[in-house]
Symmetry: C2
Subunit: 255 residues, 2 copies
């Protein structure tokens, strides 16, 4: 099948999405790599504007998706930062989950988490355990930036991401929907995450940044700790989230 | 205090340690960054050959360690690959744990794990939960390479690392010491890691490479799986190891 070449206008849009300003202006994001594009096509097909790929990139797809465009390896290398590009990038409208009753037993909240790799990894793990509500505060990395989407393998498109001005507003919005308990993951003290009652019972679980922890402790919040017998601070934010999320799986699969 | 300048011979050694051949030839490795150097000084002080730092690098230490040398920012930048160097690098003899009764209730085995960041992260987490025996097979990344030590924050110096020709030999050596059960972390099927009996009872827990899994299933080995309700393969090797290692903590702290 002869694909249409990517137009100058599309190319300009694709290029503009490397910056937060460009994404904000167009309300779009770009999604690189075979697995992320598959996730996008599977979970949010209506939001796809177009898919630009090289012949090599489209080889990974049994059927050429709709709205596909041909792009040369050189042009693609020029506009993306990925060293080993998989030859495919999609442009999609950024989903907007402004409101609505939260789905699932708990909300995962990221407070000023500024590493895109960690944000993406957490999104992917949260999706993998069947999570839905991934909320975050201003000061966090943009979860729709290239690197976060790559690290997340596009899991963002399967989740409901909501952004808040600060942690108090986030917790307050959750409480309005009956998610009244707040647990803060703390590296130093708190109840053990393996025994804390109600940890996933209409709750908000907050992960802060690696450097600074959470920005505040909302009234009534409780600290949970991942016990570490080696007396050695070790887990990064993504690992800590993984342990907490799998504790949810453990509780729901073994009780 | 006026520190001696690093000598030409020391500089040549430091430079040579960027390659596996250089490390093998001298039996040494290099250890970059404040936290990794602290771990080295704390856990294996006798193995330190010298520590090269810039004035900025030594600022992080209350006392200037013994065998310290002055090195210029330019020279340091020239020999290390770290983009944001912390201004300090130590050269140490690579510890050799050829034999001896294994310590701890279980052995963590990495089978052809070839990503240095993952190897280091796993070493760090294993040390943090109080683990001791980190064994690995040929085909794994060298755990004493720069990046593995950086990612591990020098946790390597607190563990007993042993290398084997292949997984059968590793499992056989473990069995000789009474570690007779082998569990393979499998992404597809097996007993749940949250309920499998005897998971940490004189056992070997094997993590394979992300791309290829384990190289073989030794006789009598059992598969364990980290349950993932989202039906979406997600956890990388370091995350999978984190979940399994924290399950050990959970079992020992809550039962």
């Amino acid at each position: 099948m002869q694909l249409p070449e990517i137009s100058k206008k599309e190319l300009a849009l694709l290029r503009s999405l490397s910056t937060r300003g460009g994404r904000k202006h167009s309300g779009c994001c770009r999604c690189e790599g075979v697995r992320a594009v598959r996730e996008l096509l599977d979970k949010a097909p209506g939001s796809v504007k177009f898919i630009a790929g090289t012949p090599r990139g489209f080889e990974a797809f049994k059927e050429i998706p709709e709205k596909s465009r041909n792009i040369s390896e050189e042009t693609l290398a020029d506009i993306t930062e990925t060293v080993n590009s998989q030859g495919i990038v999609a442009v999609a409208e950024t989903p907007d989950f402004a409101a609505g009753t939260p789905a699932g037993p708990f909300i995962l909240a990221l407070d000023q988490l500024n590493d895109p790799g960690n944000f993406g990894t957490i999104a992917r793990t949260f999706r993998a355990i069947g999570g839905a509500e991934l909320w975050y505060t201003k000061g966090s990395v943009d979860p729709w930036c290239d690197k976060a989407i790559r690290s997340g393998l596009g899991a963002q498109f399967s989740l409901r991401l909501r952004r808040f001005e600060n942690l108090e507003e986030l917790v307050s919005a959750a409480a309005d929907f009956g998610f009244k308990q707040t647990f803060i993951a703390d590296p130093h003290d708190g109840e053990s995450c393996f025994t804390a009652p109600g940890l996933f019972d209409k709750s908000v679980i907050v992960i802060g940044s690696e450097a600074n922890g959470v920005t505040c402790h909302p009234a009534g919040s409780r600290n949970v700790i991942i016990p570490m017998p080696g007396d050695y601070e070790s887990l990064n934010a993504a690992q800590a989230a993984t342990v907490l999320l799998l504790e949810h799986v453990r509780r729901t699969t073994t009780n």
